[in-house]
């Protein structure tokens, strides 16, 4: 699938809480190429935000720390760069947008000033050029009356508009990688559709790689080229979006898809994933999904190896493909 080497390649990323013995994020790997969208999906607490922060070099809350891994970006390992260089990359060649725009917008600064400030810092642009760029960006994210909004404060904008302003700021320096952590979770579906549209349009204009973090499989199907499904800090399944949706393999992926109420004809009782995600202090040995998996067997106490089961499509489950135990005939049609 990837003829060109990936733009960003994450290998074996682990994040740990000092004084504990379990990694909160445990051996996460994925690649993202130019113009490609990778969606990281999983329920709350599975380590999505920690992953994003680590990639941005913003994991700054000890005792939480990086516990191994590499992130190759433009031939350099981000995790080994000194803070001065990382600061230069952050907001420049790599940018991030958050679920809550106020966490990255400064409430005391006018929208235009904030964007211009970032442009000046990263591109060394003049005051006027930076302001022109800010205006251009607000127009590009389709904020109505952009000229006027330049001089407004974040609290004067609606939720959807703040999200746009944050995207404008993130894109102002033409990043080649954009990380978006639940960018539409707090928004109404109508506004979500606008923001997703906007991100798609900007991406096709600039060719940026997008790492989109979400818990919403609808958003994933809408946006992803590749999908990474996380459970309790680990990748349980990953592959091209079409393959993961058409032929999901991991019991967690299947459970997640089954628990979603359908938009079609009313179904019978919803299928659930019993129980809850174990706490990091009580993580089972071996497969972390064991405590909730309806297919768990004694062998699952060994950590399942992430194995390719279809082209570029891998799964970490001892029993994959599940139907293999049921009817060998189905196995062939499946892949």
């Amino acid at each position: 699938m990837n003829a060109t080497p990936p733009l960003l390649s994450v290998q074996d990323l682990s994040i740990r809480m000092g004084g504990t013995k379990t990694n909160l994020v445990d051996g996460l790997s994925f690649d993202v190429g130019i113009g490609e969208t990778v969606c990281i999906v999983g329920e709350s607490g599975c380590g999505k935000s920690l992953t994003a922060l680590a990639l941005m070099g913003l994991l700054r809350t000890p005792p939480l720390h990086l516990n191994g891994g590499t992130a190759l970006f433009d031939g350099e390992d981000l995790f080994r760069l000194p803070e001065t260089q990382r600061r230069q990359i952050r907001g420049g060649r790599m940018a991030m947008i958050f679920q809550e725009p106020m966490s990255s917008l400064n409430p005391a600064l006018r929208i235009g000033e904030q964007i211009a400030e970032s442009v000046r810092r990263h591109q060394g642009a003049s005051r006027e050029a930076a302001r022109t760029r800010a205006l251009e960006m607000l127009e590009r994210v389709r904020i109505p009356a952009a000229e006027k909004r330049l001089d407004e404060f974040p609290h004067q904008l609606s939720g959807g508009m703040r999200q746009r302003a944050m995207i404008a700021m993130a894109m102002a320096n033409d990043p080649s990688v954009l990380i978006a952590d639940e960018p539409t979770t707090a928004l109404d579906v109508t506004i979500q559709a606008q923001i997703l549209d906007l991100m798609r349009a900007l991406q096709s204009e600039t060719g940026a790689a997008l790492i989109l973090i979400t818990h919403d499989l609808g958003v994933v199907a809408e946006m992803a080229d590749k999908v990474v499904v996380m459970y309790a800090g680990r990748v349980v399944e990953a592959g091209p979006a079409a393959s993961v949706f058409h032929d999901p393999q991991h019991p967690y992926t299947i459970g997640l898809m089954s628990s979603m109420p359908s938009l079609g004809a009313r179904s019978e009782k919803l299928v659930t994933i019993p129980g809850v995600v174990p706490s990091p202090l009580a993580m089972p040995e071996g497969c972390r999904f064991q405590s909730r998996c309806p297919f768990a067997e004694p062998g699952c106490a060994m950590r399942p190896v992430f194995t390719e089961i279809a082209p570029d499509h891998g799964v970490a489950c001892l029993r994959a493909p599940l139907e293999g135990t049921l009817d060998p005939g189905l196995r062939e049609t499946g892949t």
Binding site: E43, S44, P144, S158, G159, M161, D188, V189, T190, I191, Q192, A193, Q194, L196, D197, H215, D216, L217, G218, V219, A221, E222, A242, F245, H246, D247, P248, Q249, P251, I254, G255, L256, M257, S258, S259, M260, P261, S262, L263, G264, R266, S267, K269, L270, V271, T272, I273, P274, V276, P294, F295, P321, L322, E323, D327, L330, R331, T333, G334, T335
Partner: protein, 356 residues
């Protein structure tokens, strides 16, 4: 069918304080709502943030007083009964919040929290109360031992179960949930939805559910009311509403849903811009500033909610425009994947059989 709850011209205004000078501005959070909720149904209210859903829900059980209008329950206009009588009626009309514990005392044990409404409604026998608490906890998939623990010791899904147990304590007839599953992850959300539906059947409840997730509504509701800026713009059976919306706003909401299947239709932005400021709503049809079908006259006259054959719609052009609903596509999956989904369903039912 008989209506268990009925509203007439229901209106609620809020005054928002003006800084320094000038008169305070008025928000009409709910502006002239006529609804009938039928006994035993699941009725859903949907609309964008700030359109007045929570305010309407609170009015329905008189957690707040209306500025104008009536709310009829069981032959009584509860909007105007004296407080003493309302306290007795409260037993029948219960509320579940998005996060029940943001409004409850964190220093009370779960047992005490569930006992509280029993106390209020005259359960004097302590051991009967304890037995009831144990029964309720079991009903919602927890264990009697949980009664001695404190709210913060529970996960979001468990807290929601406790909120439901508390609401059910007095044996209500109507249960109103304001985004009862919105804060939960899908796997936990599915558990709580199943519990709500089981309890509804078991106790013959009428459910009123507010949700912004249209898939949750599609799954749970019998009928749906769509709200826009304090007004109801369409009321229809769930089936009809999703298959064939008749109000342009309903169509736009449905078009914006992202579908969790590769190759399904893409979410569409039929609406430009945000919800207008409710302090100064647009004239005429309030939706006209965003409606793709608006014509000049829409800005002048306010369309009334009118019966158009089995459903009610407030749109001047209801007989002219052809609107698109959601097609009922099953997600495209390989035969092997379909087998896996069946295996999952069977295996998880098996696993959950002995003790949930």
């Amino acid at each position: 069918m008989t209506a268990i709850l009925k509203t007439r011209g229901l209106r609620r205004e809020f005054l928002t304080k003006k800084p320094l000078f000038g008169a305070p501005t008025v928000v009409r959070a709910v502006d002239g709502v006529d609804l009938e909720i039928e006994t035993g149904e699941t009725f859903a209210i949907v609309g964008e943030s700030g359109c007045g859903k929570s305010t309407l829900a609170r009015l329905l059980v008189r957690l707040i007083d209306p500025t104008e209008g009536e709310v009829w329950y069981d032959g009584t206009d509860i909007a105007h009964v004296p407080a003493v009588k309302m306290r007795a009626l409260r037993r029948d009309l219960q509320f579940v919040f998005q996060d029940p514990f943001s409004s409850l005392n964190p220093r009370m044990t779960v047992g005490a929290l569930i006992e509280e409404p029993l106390h209020t409604h005259g359960w004097v026998d302590r051991s009967a109360r304890k037995a009831r608490v144990a029964e309720l906890l079991t009903r919602v998939g927890l264990t009697p031992a949980h009664a001695d623990r404190f709210p913060h010791e529970f996960s979001g899904g468990q807290r929601q179960r406790i909120g439901i147990a508390r609401a059910l304590a007095t044996g209500p007839k109507v249960l109103i949930g304001d985004e009862p599953v919105s804060a939960l992850d899908v796997s936990i959300q599915a558990q709580v939805i199943n519990i709500l539906e089981d309890l509804k059947d078991e106790f013959g409840l009428t459910l009123v559910i507010i949700a912004h997730d249209l898939a949750v509504i599609r799954h749970m509701a019998d009928r749906v009311a769509v709200m826009y800026l304090g007004e109801i713009v369409e009321v229809a059976s769930c089936e009809d509403l999703f298959a064939k919306p008749r109000h342009p706003y309903t169509e736009a909401l449905l078009a914006a849903i992202p579908i969790a299947s590769v190759g399904a239709r893409k979410a569409e932005t039929r609406l430009s811009g945000d919800l207008p400021n409710p302090i100064d709503p647009p004239s005429g049809c309030r939706f006209h500033t965003r409606c793709p079908y608006a014509e000049a006259s829409c800005a002048n006259e306010r369309p009334a909610l009118t019966d158009v054959g089995g459903r009610e719609v407030a749109c001047h052009r209801v007989h002219e425009v052809q609107l698109k609903g959601l097609a009922e596509d099953a997600p495209a999956r390989s035969p092997a994947a379909q087998a896996r989904f069946q295996m999952y369903r069977a295996a998880s039912a098996e696993k959950q059989k002995p003790n949930p």
